[in-house]
């Protein structure tokens, strides 16, 4: 295209800025020194080995995985319902209601955390547990799920479902034979995205987790012990790798969904 020299350079520099932390992370994870500083002193796998021995961390990991799986399921289910309603039906105050559902996307997370803490503890008298975190994470993940699923449902021509019924299928079998296969890529990427968000989320979890910390909350605790920081780096490397793999899979399914529906690719998530 046209003279893109300077802008191209800037774009590359910007990408380096974006990726700097992720590139630096594994350097220290494999660095044979307890001090997080340059110069690097040598290669080691000790930090990863040490990871396997910390029981509290394993508990936090299990807790986080449970929360992330439940969050992914709940927010995707809610997302399907909302996206389906938003793309198929018109109801009064539709724009307002959809706006309200999408609001957590821009609310400061601490506000969400504090509100939910107050609601859960002061009003419902619920004890803090994995379930309060799941509720909060579902709240913040649902807008992302709706955004992804909306695209999936919008790309679905209503005439396709009518055609299936016209050709003799019942509404139930139409959903199974036509609707589901066409939106399943969207559902998979919605599940993966909400799983990733929940797994990494700290601010809200910190407020709402009871005496069973999630993995990020546990990591936050470790920051106070300088000796443990290389272990955190190792753990972080694994987490980042897992996140990137999950996202790549989500992106793959999103594109496949577009290809299946015969649509042009118009952009990424959101």
């Amino acid at each position: 295209m046209r003279r893109s020299g300077w802008l191209g350079l800037y774009a590359v520099a910007y990408l380096i800025f974006l990726y700097a932390p992720i590139i630096i992370l594994p350097l220290f994870a494999f660095n044979d020194s307890a001090v997080i500083a340059f110069p690097l002193s040598g290669f080691t796998l000790n930090w990863f080995r040490e990871l396997t021995g910390i029981e509290a961390m394993h508990a936090a990991l299990r807790n986080s995985l449970f929360i992330a799986v439940m969050t992914a399921l709940f927010s995707t289910l809610l997302g399907i319902a909302a996206a389906r309603a938003a793309t198929r039906y018109n109801f009064p105050l539709k724009a307002g209601i959809m706006g309200l559902i999408m609001l957590p996307l821009v609310l400061p997370e601490i506000i969400v955390a504090v509100s939910l803490l107050v609601v859960a503890v002061q009003i419902f008298g619920m004890p803090l547990s994995a379930w309060t975190v799941i509720a909060a994470h579902t709240l913040i993940c649902t807008p992302f799920c709706i955004a992804i699923l909306n695209t999936a449902f919008q790309n679905l021509d209503p005439a396709l479902e009518e055609a299936a019924v016209d050709l003799g299928e019942t509404p139930q079998s139409t959903f199974r034979l036509i609707t589901l296969p066409l939106v399943i890529p969207g559902i998979i990427s919605s599940l993966l995205i909400s799983f990733t968000i929940s797994l990494d989320e700290f601010i809200i979890a910190f407020f709402l987790t009871g005496n069973e910390p999630t993995l990020p909350v546990y990591i936050w605790g470790l920051f106070r012990f300088p000796a443990r920081i290389p272990v955190v780096m190792a753990l972080g490397t694994i987490l980042v790798a897992v996140s990137i793999i999950l996202l790549a899979i989500a992106e793959y399914y999103r594109r496949r969904g577009l290809a299946r529906a015969g649509q042009k690719d118009t952009g990424g998530f959101l």
């Binding site: 800037y10 630096i24 500083a37 309200l100 601490i110 989320e201 407020f207 118009t266």
Partner: protein, 253 residues
């Protein structure tokens, strides 16, 4: 959400409630924190959006269509990886014997480590500009994508040069995207307490840190809630004022 919120607040204070607000007014520390938070959030917004605009412009106008989604994917990846770890790594990068200082000293550009880049508001701005990058890029990108390319050709055809075309056609049409990214960066920034805690030092602490402290350390949830309400109100007012000003400005042209 607001009414929802206020109700929560009222229901936990069964006795008269204005005391907490009075305390906010009486204690200069809180006001100072709020003022500082708004200034930091404002700087973060300006820096992030200024840095983001050229990227969005580049991807929208110069990247080949089939490569665009790859670029967007690359831009969003860091955003999805553990926030906590990313912020911590900025401490590593900006620190006393961190990456930046080591590199600059090895290159002989500086003799002693720079200290103005960590444990102060600058560090908070850099880190948050990083964290909210995709939030700022995507709305601007979407707005730029919507611009009919023949409008730009029409402008050139009518005698404007490239720069004036950008100023008189591209920029006004991209404004809705810019407004969206300003809001989408500014509002959540106020609520962050991880970054100030990890890289901000004593001068970089923000209102959210105080809310967190009130809730979890001092067990003064009502005061924390009052602070949260005040923070939220200030953010909303500023956002509304901003939207109003841009609308007025755009209409005036």
């Amino acid at each position: 959400m607001f009414s929802f919120w206020t109700q929560d607040f009222l229901s936990l204070d069964t006795t008269p409630t204005l005391n907490n607000y009075r305390e906010f007014l009486a204690e200069p520390l809180y006001q100072e924190l709020l003022r500082r938070s708004l200034i930091i959030a404002g700087s973060v917004t300006v820096v992030t959006v200024l840095l983001a605009f050229p990227i969005a412009y580049y991807v929208s106008f110069y990247v080949r269509p089939e490569r665009k989604s790859l670029w967007l994917f690359l831009i969003t990846i860091p955003f999805w990886t553990s926030y906590l770890i990313r912020v911590f790594l900025w401490r590593v990068i900006l620190g006393f014997d961190g990456v930046v200082n080591t590199a600059l000293m090895n290159l002989g550009l500086i003799n002693e480590p720079l200290t103005f880049i960590l444990y102060n508001p600058n560090a908070v701005v850099i880190t948050l500009a990083h964290a909210f990058a995709p939030f700022a890029i995507l709305p601007i990108f979407v707005a730029l994508e919507r611009i009919d390319r023949s409008l730009l050709e029409a402008s050139r055809d009518l005698g404007e040069n490239a720069f004036n075309t950008f100023r008189r056609v591209t920029l006004p049409l991209a404004m809705p995207g810019v407004v969206a990214s300003v809001l989408i960066v500014f509002i959540p920034t106020i609520g962050d307490y991880v970054t100030p805690r990890l890289v901000g030092g004593p001068e970089g602490l923000m209102i959210a840190n105080m809310i967190q402290t009130q809730f979890l350390r001092l067990n003064n949830a009502p005061l924390g809630a009052a602070l949260a309400v005040i923070a939220m109100l200030s953010v909303t007012l500023i956002s509304l004022a901003f939207i109003w000003l841009t609308r007025k400005y755009l209409r005036a042209r």
